[in-house]
Amino acid sequence: MKCRKCGDTAALELRRHNAAFCSPHFLEFFQKQVREAIRHHRMFPPGTPILVAVSGGKDSLALWDVLLGEGYETAGLYLDLGISEYSVESKAKCEAFAAARGQKLIVERVVDAVGAPIPEVQKVTRRPTCSACGLSKRYLINRAALDHGYRVVATGHNLDDEAATLFGSVLHWQTEALARQSPMLESTHPKLVRRVKPLYRLSERETAAYAFLRGIDYIVEECPFSRGATSLAHKEVLNRLEAVSPGAKHNFLFGFLDKARPAFERAQDVTLMECVRCGQVTTGELCAFCKLSDQVRRRSGPHA
């Protein structure tokens, strides 16, 4: 297979674009897609300091690498979830990435904020692990951004993540989630920072290829709690569809963003308040994170 641009041996085929690229031209394509995402959604103007939420995985480190290449002023934020060896290794990957590029890495520990590491939160609350983890991440990322003076947080969500989330929301007709799903979530309250997903135009395979070709040392092993996660089942369904109908995931997500999302967005009208305990933004009196934290502290006692 030959590169569409130079005719050299291709490194990656992109069936949904009916194209293949050699390594340098694939990297160029990747960077162009990120630039287009930022431009199209006016995610942030040049000069805006950006906090990049990093997990040590391919997506977030690829994102950080591209933003640095584009000349943005960034810092990384790593949330230590306390998931044994997985967290130790993923944190080491983030630290090595930041150190090699002379970048600042902010580290927050879930155990300090919620009262227990994620595995214990799951045990005492009986919530699905990914649900408690996701809630904690959203809360802590926003809080860390405010604490460190960042108004924009970038996450490594890719096309597959977004298509799988959309698929899950449609399966259950979660209209509130459908209204919220977007490559850019604007700040709607002084205590909520803007959240952006500059990789949403790129598939998971493309972010992995970018990380590999750029020599980024990322954690290949998956979080042990992700085994059996519903999002993986949704991704498998979509990838089976993609195999017989290239572009299916792209069309599903982009069709929703262009044609359907505005209708769901109009239907939503929520009043934002500040949590009586922690002061973060919520729709009730006590925010979901404080409720989770209460539950954990009641049942598990103090942690180091």
Binding site: M1, A10, A11, L12, E13, A20, S23, G57, K58, D59, T129, C130, S131, C133, G134, L135, K137, R138, H157, D160, D161, S203, E204, R205, T207, A208, A209, F212, L213, V220, E221, E222, C223, F225, S226, A229, S231, L232, K235, E236, N239, R240, E242, A243
Partner: protein
């Protein structure tokens, strides 16, 4: 050829040469879910891999993210 797979990490020995797309089909791996790596290069579906090659099928799917 030696093929390394993950989840769980294992190595399988495959005899004879074939195209990457046929190798993936034989191993029941969806092309969209892996990078096919030989040394420092990525291989496309039509690449023919041979007896002496060492291939890694590196999964690209992350899950559980809320």
């Amino acid at each position: 050829m030696k093929v390394t797979l993950r989840y769980p990490k294992r190595q399988v020995e495959i005899a004879g040469k074939r195209r990457v797309k046929d190798l993936l089909r034989e191993l029941d791996v969806l092309p969209e879910t892996v990078l096919v790596i030989r040394g420092s290069e990525l291989l496309t579906a039509d690449t023919v891999v041979g007896e002496d090659d060492e291939i890694e099928l590196r999964p690209v799917i992350s899950g559980g993210r809320a």
